[in-house]
């Protein structure tokens, strides 16, 4: 897939990007590229600069040095709205769903389907319910049988999948996922990983931020390991073993406990 897309410009690209807050350099000369239909994994331990990088890509922060390009053109985002306008959608860790609202209401929040005209313009509940249900069944979530069902009845993974599905449905071209699998059980994480595969298949550039090397290796095409704001390593699928990646993330130290933890996911 990378070979196929290499001829066109990457959908999103950071070039020699740096970000400082006062005297603190949190990102130092970081370059990453993501083409359409590619899953780019961003790995790193806590404090490696992952969250700052997400915020730069999603328009919350502007760069101190370096360049952000979308479709090969340099851009400067003044707010998350600017990023969204270019189809860059961020799914945050605390999932953007409302438990006491229905699946359909959640799916279409902020983009409600309407019918009728003038003062009788109203939400098209019938369309919303059936359409949201259809989308959710396609994701492989079987527990939902009615678009009117409250989202609070769904599990964390299902809600995460719903959020990703919603972003795809509304035409996201770049999907930034902040630790979408870290709080989930094995089966739940599988549901989310399947959604990421769907996104890749439909030509979306996915930036997958995680500290779970196993999930990253399962799904990623390209990998960037961040350490204290710098790129510690960059490689493509198959070039490194999971143990090498884990060692890189931990900063070259021996790790015993982590391997047990990640093998539990297999």
């Amino acid at each position: 897939m990378t070979a196929q897309t290499a001829t066109t410009a990457p959908v999103i690209e950071l070039i020699a990007a740096s970000k400082t807050f006062g005297v603190n350099t949190v990102l130092d000369d970081v370059s990453i590229t993501a083409h359409a239909g590619e899953v780019v994994c961003l790995l790193g331990d806590n404090g490696a600069g992952k969250s700052t990088l997400i915020k730069v890509l999603s328009g919350v922060h502007t760069l101190t040095r370096g360049e952000l390009r979308v479709d090969g053109r340099a851009v400067e985002f003044r707010s998350p709205r600017d990023a969204q306008a270019l189809g860059i959608t961020t799914v945050f860790q605390d999932i953007d769903t409302f438990p006491l609202m229905s699946v359909a209401q959640n799916f279409f929040i902020g983009r409600e389907p309407m019918k009728g005209r003038g003062p009788f313009r109203r939400m098209d509940h019938k369309y919303a319910n059936s359409h949201a249900l259809e989308q959710i069944r396609e994701m492989g979530i079987r527990g939902v049988t009615d678009g009117k069902q409250l989202v609070g009845t769904m599990s964390g993974g299902e809600r995460q999948a719903l959020t990703i599905g919603r972003a795809l449905h509304f035409g996201a071209r770049v999907l930034i996922l902040d630790e979408p699998t870290s709080a989930l059980g094995v089966k739940e994480a599988g549901l989310v990983l399947r959604q990421i595969r769907n996104a890749r298949k439909s030509g979306v550039a996915v930036i997958f931020i995680t500290h779970n090397a196993h999930h990253a290796m399962t799904i990623g095409d390209k990998f960037t390991v961040l350490k204290q704001g710098k790129v510690a390593d960059q490689f493509v699928q198959g070039e490194r073993s999971r143990l090498e990646v884990l060692t890189l993330m931990a900063g070259g130290e021996e790790i015993d406990g982590d391997d047990d933890e990640s093998s539990a996911h297999e």
């Binding site: 998350p80 945050f92 605390d94 953007d96 769903t97 409302f98 438990p99 006491l100 609202m101 209401q105 279409f108 929040i109 902020g110 983009r111 409600e112 309407m114 313009r121 109203r122 939400m123 509940h125 527990g143 939902v144 069902q149 409250l150 609070g152 009845t153 769904m154 599990s155």
Partner: protein, 339 residues
């Protein structure tokens, strides 16, 4: 528990008006049984509680919507009084026509609502405190202005003609305010269930930050609703002033807590994000029925406060339980699968 039974229970639990409806019906039947031959059931008896319920209901509907959006408005009490003294002062003292006085009263209401809305959304202070403040400001201002201008805090309302019948008219035994209430109920229900705004109200109350990230204009939702509560309160103040013939800045003090109480009795979640208009209608009926029922049964009417207090506590507890049931079925089913 068989699956169909669990399904039925969860469906009923999700119908948010179910609990309040059952309570209202039980109370009604109870008071019918304990007050035989008192006229509680007749048209006059029904009007006696439906009229006061309607006045409260016109204010309680927007207050409920605002609570679903996650905010309180305690200034409605003094806004009722504000509307009341405005129409009294303008018609009785200054001799302005009623229609003009009412327009001015509604505009003043909208201004207070805007003030509440901007203070809450800009300062991020709890609306409980902000509107408690404006409640006293409006109340004090109403009394002070009345006293300074007329050397009295109560004004006689001068009305005549068909226009005033829109406010003090009668339809059989019932006040015309019942019609106003029904109109407000229909609008509120339409807004919450049918309009895009209703979706936004629920989301704003559910989690304002997430709602904003999803593209909901949360500040606009809140400010609009603050304007609606203040305008509705001012309107009821004017309606009652025309009905009773006097404008009194203190007349609405009971609304401050009665409006949120009937919303909670109707199943509105105190923290926002959940509630239905039909539920609040039954919450209002609970309030009206227990109020009049005690009177017709020949018991001490002061017991109403006790009854409302007990019902409020029961409502909060049972609302939590019903919500848990509404959110439970899939989890239960999944547990069954994985075992």
């Amino acid at each position: 528990m068989p699956a169909w039974w669990r399904g039925a229970v969860s469906k009923v639990a999700r119908a948010q008006a179910f609990g309040p409806a059952v309570v209202a019906i039980i109370l009604y039947v109870f008071f019918v049984l304990v007050s035989p031959g008192s006229g509680f059931v007749g048209a006059a008896g029904t009007a006696s509680w439906l009229d006061t319920t309607a006045d409260l209901g016109i204010v309680a509907m927007p207050v409920a919507l605002l609570m679903i959006a996650g905010e309180f408005d305690l200034s409605v009490g003094s806004m009722v009084g504000g509307g009341s003294i405005t129409v009294g002062l303008l018609t009785g003292y200054l001799g302005l026509p009623l229609w003009l006085s009412i327009v001015i009263g509604l505009v003043l209401g909208a201004l207070v609502g805007l003030l509440n809305g901007f203070l809450v959304t800009r300062t991020k202070l709890p609306s409980f405190i902000v509107t408690l403040g404006t409640n006293f400001i409006v109340l004090g201002a109403g009394i002070t202005i009345g006293d300074a201008v007329m050397h009295s805090t109560i004004a006689t309302v001068e009305t005549s003609g068909w226009f005033s019948e829109l406010f003090k008219g009668k339809i059989g035994d019932f006040d015309v305010s019942v019609i106003w209430w029904i109109v407000v109920v229909l609008i509120a229900a339409w807004v919450l269930r049918r309009s895009r705004y209703g979706n936004w109200i629920m989301a704003t109350g559910g989690d304002a930050d997430k709602a904003r990230r999803s593209g909901v204009l949360t500040s606009r939702v809140k400010i609009t609703l603050f304007v609606c509560t203040a305008v509705a309160a001012s309107f009821v103040g004017m309606l009652e002033a025309v009905k009773f013939g006097t404008g009194d800045p203190t007349s609405g003090s009971s609304f401050v807590f009665e409006a949120p109480i009937v919303a909670v009795l109707g199943g509105v979640l105190l923290t926002g994000g959940y509630g239905s208009i039909l539920g609040v209608v039954f919450g209002l009926l609970i309030y009206g029925i227990s109020n009049a029922g005690l009177f017709y049964a020949g018991w001490d009417v002061n017991l109403t406060q006790v009854v409302l207090g007990v019902l409020l506590l029961v409502a909060v507890l049972s609302n939590n339980r019903l919500r848990q049931i509404a959110l439970a079925p899939i989890r239960a089913a999944r547990k069954g699968l994985t075992k």
